[in-house]
C-alpha cells in the first residue's frame, strides 16, 4: 500500500532593491496621462506586451508574459502602506518588519520560519542566497542559512584530514555553546555559529544531488535562483527562500538600465520555473516578487525619483493568475505628492500568503488584520 504524502508549501521571495518603477513595468498604454508624465521614458503602445485593453507588460518581461499567459502570474496592483516613506532604507525596513510606525528588528519571514518550525528542528527551514542576511529573515533564535556560494560552504575548511578536522569542529561546537552572562551579541554569534555548523554539513551535499537540463541565462539573479533550485530539489525541507536583485534606483539613465534589469529578472524566473517543472517540483512553490516603493509618476528627464504605490508579483502553479487589486489612478487630482496612491496594504498581501499558502495565522506575522486578496 502506498500513501501519498502532501508536499509542504514553499515560498521563494525575490526582493527588487532600489524601488522598481511600477508604471513602466505594468504600463497603462492607453492612458494619455501616462504619456504626458513620461515624455522621456514612456514605453510606446506598440512595444508593450498587452494583457488587456488598458495594461501591458514592459517588453523586457517577455519570459514573464509567457507564464502570465499560462495563468501562472498574479499582478498585485497598487501595493503599499499608509504614509509612505521615500527613504530606501526605511521603506525596505517597513516591508521587512511590517512596522511602519516604529523601528522593528524582527523580520516577517523570521516569524514565518519560527511558526513553520516552532521547535527549531531544521536549521535550513529558511535559506537566503546572497550577501548578508536580509532583515526580513532576521529573528533572534531563528536559524537561517545565508549562502553566498553553495559550493564553498563549510566551517574550518582549511583543516583537512582526521582526527584534526573532527577535533577542531568538536572544539568549535563547544566554544560556541551558550555562555551565561556574555551578552546578547556573543549569544547571537554563538547560535549563528552552531547553526552554520549544522547547516553546512547538510548543504554541502546539495550540488552533488542536483542535475538539470535547464540552462540558466547568466546573471546575478539567475545564479541565485539556480542556487535556490539546487537546495529546493535536494529535499532538505526548506520552506522559505530569499534572494535580492539590485539596481532599481533609476534616478537617471533609466532608459537602458530598467529594461536590462527586468529582462534578467524575468528570464531568471522563467528558467527557475522550468527547472522546477522538469523535476515535477513546481506545484508547491510560490514565488513572490516585491520592491520597497514605486517611482514618481512624472519622470525627471532621464530617470524617476522615489515614489509610493507599487506593484508586486506572485508567480507559480499555486497562483490564480491575472490582475489583482486596482491599478491606481494616474490623474493629477488622485496623486499624493506626485505619487500613486496605494490601494492594497502589503501586510494584507503577506497575510494572504501566510494564511492561504503557508497555512499559518497571519496576525502575529504581519502585526494585525489586513484585507487579503484571492491570488492563491
Amino acid at each position: 500500500m502506498t500513501t501519498e504524502t502532501k508536499k509542504d508549501p514553499i515560498l521563494v521571495v525575490i526582493q527588487l532593491t532600489g524601488g522598481n518603477d511600477y508604471v513602466n513595468t505594468v504600463v497603462p498604454y492607453t492612458s494619455s496621462t501616462y504619456y504626458d508624465n513620461r515624455s522621456n521614458l514612456g514605453v510606446a503602445p506598440e512595444d508593450v506586451l498587452p494583457i488587456d485593453a488598458e495594461f501591458g507588460l514592459n517588453p523586457a518581461l517577455a519570459p514573464l508574459k509567457r507564464l502570465y499567459d499560462d495563468g501562472k502570474v498574479a499582478i498585485i496592483n497598487g501595493i503599499g502602506y499608509p504614509n509612505p516613506n521615500r527613504s530606501h532604507f526605511r521603506s525596505m525596513d517597513i516591508w521587512h518588519t511590517c512596522e511602519p510606525d516604529k523601528i522593528g528588528d524582527e523580520g516577517w519571514l523570521g516569524r514565518v520560519i519560527r511558526d513553520l518550525d516552532p521547535k527549531h528542528e531544521n536549521v535550513l527551514k529558511g535559506v537566503n542566497f546572497g550577501r548578508g542576511l536580509p532583515r526580513s529573515m532576521s529573528l533572534t533564535g531563528v536559524p537561517v542559512a545565508s549562502v553566498a556560494m553553495l559550493e564553498a560552504y563549510g566551517i574550518l575548511t582549511g583543516i583537512q584530514g582526521e582526527p584534526d578536522r573532527g577535533e577542531a569542529l568538536d572544539l568549535f561546537a563547544k566554544m560556541y555553546r551558550p555562555m551565561i552572562g556574555s551578552g546578547p551579541v556573543m549569544e547571537y554569534i554563538g547560535q549563528t555559529g552552531l547553526d552554520a555548523l549544522k547547516g553546512a554539513d547538510i548543504l554541502k551535499t546539495a550540488p552533488t544531488l542536483y542535475n538539470s537540463n535547464v540552462e540558466y541565462a547568466d546573471s546575478p539573479i539567475g545564479r541565485n535562483l539556480q542556487g535556490i533550485a539546487k537546495v529546493l530539489l535536494s529535499g532538505f525541507e526548506t520552506q522559505v527562500f530569499y534572494t535580492m536583485h539590485g539596481g532599481y534606483d533609476t534616478h537617471a539613465n533609466q532608459g537602458p538600465f530598467h529594461p536590462k534589469l527586468l529582462g534578467d529578472l524575468s528570464q531568471a524566473i522563467s528558467d527557475f520555473y522550468d527547472d522546477l517543472r522538469e523535476h515535477e517540483a513546481s506545484d508547491n512553490v510560490l514565488m513572490f516578487v516585491f520592491t520597497e516603493f514605486g517611482r514618481r509618476v512624472k519622470d525627471n528627464g532621464s530617470g524617476t525619483d522615489h515614489g509610493a504605490g507599487g506593484v508586486a508579483f506572485a508567480v507559480g502553479d499555486p497562483v490564480k493568475g491575472g490582475m489583482h487589486s486596482e491599478y491606481p489612478s494616474l490623474l493629477p487630482a488622485d496623486l499624493v505628492e506626485g505619487d500613486l496612491e496605494f490601494n492594497i496594504d502589503f501586510r494584507g498581501v503577506y497575510g494572504t500568503i501566510v494564511e492561504k499558502w503557508l497555512g499559518l495565522d497571519p496576525v502575529p506575522v504581519v502585526g494585525g488584520h489586513f484585507e487579503q486578496l484571492e491570488f492563491v
Binding site: 548578508g132 553566498a148 574550518l156 582549511g158 555562555m179 546578547p184 525627471n300 530617470g303
Partner: protein, 477 residues
C-alpha cells in the same frame, strides 16, 4: 595584568580602532612612545613619510589598473594594508567616511573617479567637517551617484539634497523629532543646481577612463532666494553647508557616527531619531569638541582617544569585514609588495558582506552585530583561521619564533596566553579559555629544547592560533 601589560593592551586597543591593528613589535614600540604621544602620532599622518607607490609598480605593474569594481576594491584594500604600518589613521578615517558617505560603483561605474573620492577622504577626512562637506558636494562620483548632474535650475532632482540632510549631516531626526521638512530638501536641492561634472571621456582613449572633474555651470544655477532650516537668502551650496554644519543635530549625528565606528557599536542609524545614544555623556563631550574646534574631526578624535569611555570600550565592537581582512593581513605581514594572489584575498571583504566601493545602497552598511550572519561568520572564521596558522607568512613566523624562544617548557595556559598577547592582547572568556586549554592539554608536554619537540610545539601553537581566530571573541575589536 602588570602595568606594562596594561599599557600595551591599551595601545593595542588604540591601534585596532585608529588603524588596522598592530604587530607585537609595533605594540612594543608604541607602548614605549607612550599612549598620548601615540594618539598624536596617529592623528598626524602627514608627518610620516608616505608609501612610495611608484616603487610598488616595479613588483606588479597592474596593481592599480582598476579596470572594474573588483580592481577598485583590490586597490583600496592594498592601500589600507600598505599604510597600516605607516599612516593607519589616514586609512581608517577614509574607511570611516566611506561608511558614512557610501558611494557605489554599481551605479558610478567609473573606478578612478571613485578612488579619487576615497583619496579625498584621506586628504581632508581629519580636518574641518564643513570643508569636507564642500569637497563631498563637489566630488564627481558623489554628484553622479546622487544625480546632482541632472539637478537643474527650474527642474530639480532632489536626491543629493535629501541624502545630504538625511544621511550625511543632520539625520532624519533627533530626540524623537524631525530635523527638517520636505521643503528644506527641495530648497537645498535648488542651492546645488549647476554643481555638475565634466564627464568627457573620449579624449582618454586608449589609456582608460580619465577621472571626472567637478564643474560649476553658472547658467544652470538657481540664484533665487531660498529658505533653508529657517534662514532665508540667495544661498549657494556653500552657504547651505555653513547652515547645516552649525546645526546641533549635525553635531549629534556626526558624533554618533564617530562613536559607532571608533568606540562601541550603537543601534543602527535609522533608529537614531527615536533612540538616545548608548553613552549620552560621551556624545555630549564629543559635541562640545565639535563646536569648540570649529567642526575639526581631528580634535574630536583626540578627545575620544584620550577619554576614559574609549579606554573602557575594549572589544565592544564587532569588527567590520575590512577590519578583519586588513587587520589579519597586517598582523601576518602579507604583501609587503603586491602580487597576483592579493586580488583573491582582498575580495574576502566582499564575501564577508562588505563589498568596498560598492555598498548595498546610499545608506551604507549596517554595522555591529549585523555584520554577522551564518554566511559571513563562516567566511570570517575560515579566512582568519587559515591566515593565522600559515608559517609562510612572515608575521606568523615571527610570532612563533618569538614565543617559542622565550622558554624551554610551556604549560597549556602559558602557550595560550602567549598567543593572545602576540595577537594584540586579545581576551577570551573563561569558558572559551578552558575549552581551548583542554585541547592543548590533551597534546601532552610542550617543550622547545630539542628540534623534534620544538617542531611539535610549533604545530600546537599554530593550531592554537587557528582556534583563537575561530572564536567568538575574535570577532570583536
Amino acid at each position: 595584568m602588570t602595568t606594562i601589560a596594561t599599557d600595551k593592551a591599551l595601545v593595542a586597543h588604540l591601534l585596532r580602532r585608529a588603524g588596522f591593528g598592530a604587530t607585537f613589535q609595533e605594540i612594543d614600540k608604541f607602548a614605549e612612545m607612550g599612549y598620548e604621544e601615540t594618539v598624536d602620532y596617529l592623528l598626524h599622518p602627514e608627518r610620516v613619510p608616505d608609501i612610495d607607490e611608484d616603487l610598488l609598480e616595479r613588483y606588479y605593474i597592474d596593481w592599480k589598473e582598476s579596470r572594474n569594481i573588483e580592481g577598485a576594491l583590490v586597490e583600496t584594500v592594498y592601500r589600507f594594508n600598505a599604510r597600516a604600518g605607516v599612516r593607519p589613521m589616514q586609512e581608517k578615517i577614509a574607511l570611516f567616511w566611506h561608511h558614512v558617505f557610501a558611494t557605489g560603483l554599481a551605479k558610478v561605474l567609473h573606478e578612478k573617479t571613485l578612488l579619487n573620492q576615497i583619496d579625498m577622504f584621506r586628504d581632508y577626512g581629519l580636518g574641518s567637517y564643513r570643508d569636507l562637506l564642500v569637497h563631498l558636494a563637489k566630488d564627481p562620483a558623489m554628484i553622479f551617484w546622487l544625480d546632482n548632474n541632472v539637478n537643474h535650475k527650474g527642474a530639480i532632482n532632489e536626491n543629493w539634497g535629501r541624502e545630504l540632510l538625511e544621511l550625511f549631516s543632520m539625520g532624519i531626526g533627533m530626540d524623537g523629532k524631525d530635523n527638517y521638512t520636505e521643503n528644506d530638501v527641495q530648497e537645498v536641492a535648488r542651492a546645488f543646481t549647476g554643481w555638475t561634472m565634466d564627464d568627457d571621456n573620449t579624449a582618454s582613449i586608449p589609456f582608460g577612463k580619465t577621472p571626472w572633474l567637478f564643474k560649476f555651470d553658472a547658467d544652470d544655477h538657481d540664484y533665487g532666494e531660498k529658505t533653508v532650516l529657517g534662514e532665508t537668502g540667495n544661498f549657494t551650496g556653500e552657504d547651505v553647508i555653513d547652515i547645516i554644519a552649525k546645526q546641533p543635530s549635525t553635531a549629534r549625528f556626526i558624533c554618533r557616527h564617530l562613536y559607532n565606528f571608533f568606540v562601541a557599536d550603537e543601534v543602527q542609524v535609522p533608529s537614531w531619531r527615536d533612540t538616545a545614544p548608548l553613552d549620552p555623556e560621551a556624545i555630549r563631550i564629543m559635541e562640545d569638541a565639535y563646536f569648540e574646534s570649529n567642526y575639526d574631526i581631528r580634535s574630536i578624535l583626540k578627545v575620544v582617544f584620550n577619554s576614559e569611555f574609549f579606554k573602557n570600550a575594549r572589544f565592544q565592537k564587532v569588527k567590520s569585514p575590512a577590519e578583519v581582512v586588513c587587520g589579519t593581513m597586517h598582523i601576518v605581514g602579507s604583501y609587503k609588495f603586491p602580487d597576483q594572489r592579493f586580488f583573491e584575498e582582498a575580495l574576502e571583504c566582499r564575501y564577508m558582506n562588505q563589498d568596498l566601493l560598492n555598498p548595498p545602497s546610499v545608506e551604507g552598511w549596517h554595522t555591529g552585530k549585523e555584520w554577522i550572519d551564518s554566511g559571513s561568520l563562516v567566511e570570517r572564521i575560515n579566512y582568519v583561521a587559515d591566515e593565522l596558522s600559515d608559517t609562510t607568512k612572515p608575521g606568523v613566523r615571527a610570532m612563533v619564533d618569538n614565543l617559542l624562544s622565550r622558554q624551554s617548557e610551556f604549560t597549556p595556559e602559558g602557550l595560550i596566553e602567549g598567543c593572545l598577547e602576540l595577537l594584540g592582547y586579545f581576551e577570551l572568556k573563561d569558558k572559551t579559555r578552558s575549552d581551548l586549554i583542554e585541547l592543548v592539554y590533551r597534546a601532552g608536554e610542550i617543550r622547545t629544547d630539542n628540534p623534534e619537540d620544538r617542531m611539535f610545539a610549533e604545530q600546537l601553537m599554530l593550531r592554537t592560533l587557528k582556534m583563537i581566530g575561530a572564536t567568538r571573541e575574535y570577532q570583536f575589536a
